[in-house]
Amino acid sequence: MKYILMMNTMRAGHGVPAWAQKDLQAHVAFMIGLNQELRQSGELVSAEGLSFPDQAKLVRAGKDGVCITDGVFPESKEFLAGYWIVDVDSPERAYAIAAKASAAPGPGGAPLNMPIEVRAIMSGPPSEML
């Protein structure tokens, strides 16, 4: 069963976080380590980080399908920062990975405990038999 683990940034409008270099490095090392661990366990389908929310554009089709782009809305509370798609044997395993990612180190090495949204990815039709 495949799951998407979506990591949301806490607030919109924030660019590069103003962390100490040591903290940033620990955070990056943690994320690289997590991806490597998932690759080695044979569970990683894909993982991507997204550019910062202040670089995002909101697109919608206007009259005659003309493309209208706009900056993001500052009142938005959360933005997708990145995601993992994993192929695991149980939902509990997906939750465990999400919890691990959530506790990535932040300033001073303290766990960030970021909210990670876990959703099952829709697959083919299940069996008629079971």
Binding site: R39, G42, L44, V45, D87, D89, G124, E128, M129
Partner: protein
Amino acid sequence: MTKPWDVTSEHLLRELAPQVLGAVARRFRDFSSAEDAVQEAMIAAFTQWPREGVPENPRGWLIQVASRRMTDLVRSEIARRQRETTVARDVEIMEPSVDIESDMDPDDTLILLFMCCHPALTSSSAIAMTLRAVGGLTTTEIANAFLVPEATMAQRISRAKQSIKTSGVPFRLPSAHERAERLPVVLHVLYLIFNEGYASSIGAHLQRLDLAREAIRLTRCAKALLPGDAEVAGLLALMLLTDARRAARTGPHEELIPLNKQDRTLWDRTEISEGIEHLTAALSKGSVGLYQLQAAVAAVHDEAARTEDTDWPQILALYELLKRVSPSPMVTLNHAIAAAMVHGPSKGLELLETLDTDDRLAGHYRLDAVRAHLLEMVGDCESAIKHYRIAASRTTSIPEQNYLMTQAARLAEK
């Protein structure tokens, strides 16, 4: 002398894969490396044979290529150890002898099947191992079938081999007692491969390897190796009797068509009669199990020319037996449907109540889908709509979701 490559060649190559692996693993006493070496020999064959023709002795060809690879591996391993210990030792390199073919044992495929369906492995690892070592499929093919990157699948296989190694299982046929104990795991893995294939055999995934056909091939092979086992035959029958309905299961827009609305003229008669033949032979052996009973239910459906001809009392009797032989909430659910068809929907709804407190089925879409269907039958449209919608939000299958939403919409417009 070579023979031209044709449709039977790939089949032959896949049949040979576990036999060659058995011989090489026994000779070199290293299952994990032998498995890699045979995989490379298979890839070499798949590249060369279609172009250059099938060698006169395909088995010998594969053994030679795999053994050469093994010798290389052994050599580099010795070199590595010598570098590490800086002690030059005389280690005799095992050269593949010409008579390695005499090492082949008809039971090798069976040994491998038990090894790959090892109880220490998670089902996804066991499936991958079985498809590669017993099925002779390449890592790329398996990765594509499960829609994961090749590197992920390769890693899954390598970890599975590590687990098998740590478990210390020797490369030999388990004792009769052990076999009886572990056969259910083997059958379950084959069943899951079939299920994965059957569940995903819809439009968008046409380019994927046909896992349902592969599962049928492997189960046929298991049945030939265990001719006395009624459950292997029962599983093969179940697969054939289910696969027979494949063409009728989806409409022109890939929408799911439930059993009672299928165009039964599209069912594959050849598969049905073969399935019934296996089932009849299995049932005569006297030890009735889970797969034979499920196959028997499938056979009752397949034998009805029209939905209204379905022998529901017989299906109900079969589910009553299943409840005793192999009780599970899914069996109870199906039993409730059969009871509703025989004694009316109220009886079915009453039986469903026992499942509301069962944690194993809590939140499962099928409970809501069945309840919705029975509520519709008793004429409680309001509640039926509600449960169709709950079921739709809980399934992880898009065709199933579309079907359930459509049912709710149809009732709402009444």
